[in-house]
Symmetry: C2
Subunit: 283 residues, 2 copies
């Protein structure tokens, strides 16, 4: 009789419908049916009367529903009390550009739900530091993009995005539905400042050093495309102003959204953040 199983049971008992309960639990119906059956074997009594007309709670099920709700509430209170005992703590999260992802806010919400007393400081950095201040000790964990120098860091991939090229909408190549890097070799490209991580710089240049304006932030990038006619690479799936177009690149290794933290960091809050991030990006 684990808490997870009881949460399943409460969902079914409230919906009185396995399919809907499964949807609510973000799972499919068969494993839910099985879990309930196992719970019935565990407590030694039928909890639901299944009939084609519908699902009903048995008397024992009614009792368990009350008990399970109380127990789950109790468990929630345990979490709160332990968090309170842990006291006010802070973690600082570095984020690349102006929000690598729409998922970041979801993640922050999920984390705050798990650890209500913990302050989350977000440190938004420009594109010149792929570790978002982690190396400099300014943040505890970074949500960013690979690749970069990983020595003394631990990296977990959260998602991979195909990469496209950003062009002016009136660029002749902008109408193409896909492109290869070679077709852009005569263009001007972005540069990051001199001291930027080399593999990071190299990645966004498509593997070969390029000439072009120095940029530091996403907006600078886009402006450079608009005004200087340079090209730039960007992961697909972001909104762009109408004057810009993005064309998928077929021969570019996809961009990885990653979480990074210091190798050997034992802070449970950081570990927890990583786990929640992994789960949040899984769907």
């Amino acid at each position: 009789m684990e808490l997870r199983t009881l949460r399943y049971f409460v969902a079914v008992a409230e919906e009185l419908h396995f399919g809907r309960a499964a949807t609510r639990l973000h799972m499919s119906q068969p494993p839910l049916s099985r879990a309930i059956k196992q719970l019935e074997a565990d407590v030694g009594a039928l909890l639901f009367a299944r009939s084609p007309a519908g699902v009903t709670l048995t008397p024992v099920g009614t009792v368990l529903l009350d008990e399970a709700r109380a127990l789950l509430d109790h468990a929630d209170r345990v979490r709160v009390r332990v968090s309170a005992a842990a006291g006010a703590a802070t973690i600082t999260v570095g984020i690349l550009g102006d929000g690598t992802d729409p998922g970041v806010s979801r993640l922050a919400a999920a984390y705050r739900r798990n650890h209500p007393g913990i302050d989350i400081h977000i440190r938004d950095t420009d594109l010149t530091d792929p570790t978002c201040g982690l190396r400099a000790g300014l943040v505890d964990v970074a949500l960013t993009r690979a690749p970069f120098d990983e020595t003394a860091l631990t990296v977990r991939t959260l998602r991979t995005d195909p990469v496209g090229v950003v062009l002016r909408a009136d660029d002749p190549l902008a109408r193409r539905d896909r492109l290869r890097l070679a077709e852009l070799s005569d263009r001007r490209w972005f540069q990051f400042p001199q001291d930027t991580d080399p593999s990071w710089q190299s990645y966004w240049n498509g593997g070969t050093p390029r000439e072009g304006p120095v940029v530091r932030a996403v907006q600078e990038c886009l402006q450079a495309v608009l005004w200087n006619g340079t090209v730039g690479l960007a992961p697909l799936g972001h909104d762009l102003p109408a004057e810009l177009a993005v064309v998928p690149l077929t021969d570019m290794v996809p961009s990885r959204v990653v979480a990074v933290w210091n190798e050997g960091d034992t802070n449970p809050l950081i570990r927890s953040f990583i786990e929640i991030a992994t789960a949040a990006y899984r769907r």
Copy 2:
């Protein structure tokens, strides 16, 4: 934060020693260490201060210890209340011979611990019915030995025992450390009564029909060996009177201790019994 994890935590907190706690939990130390680490990530705080001098609870750990104990107690009470609501029920268990196994009493104890309100009726049967009255509708579940006619029954193997031959201690063959069936072909063997399950009868005759006295119970078997000089097969590992010896047989397929119930039986008490039996025999 599942109940299982909290039980681990309480064990470590009480022992203040990972190795001893693991022993108490019937597991090994590494997965316990890992589980605690995951719990720490889950609640977002270190629970133990590990130092070579020993393990100590952190302040947060102290709080969680109280809370976890309370929650686990609550969970136990939930079980009790649900069992009470299920009311008095009875399951009847058929057992072969005079207790197939020393594990049976352990099993009954474990079952009673899980389902305090449930009466367990034990029906002890002789060797002539391998289903122990299940076919006749006299019991809900049987702890017995395979093989037998399994139509409309579901069988789960709990354990397998090598089989030996039972001989008088003064029998010339009794000194051998192992035997083959062929070396016993000129002997008299047991018979079960006419209407006994054929594959059951055949199994205990080593696959070929034999001549010999009809027996119904284990004691009759042993007496027949003593007084008639017949041979009989028996799973190894049982105590025998000093006048009898058992010699392992090399070419006999091992005997399986099984739990059997009616195919499609949906009674959760029976399902529960099966699960508890499986777990009880696992170690």
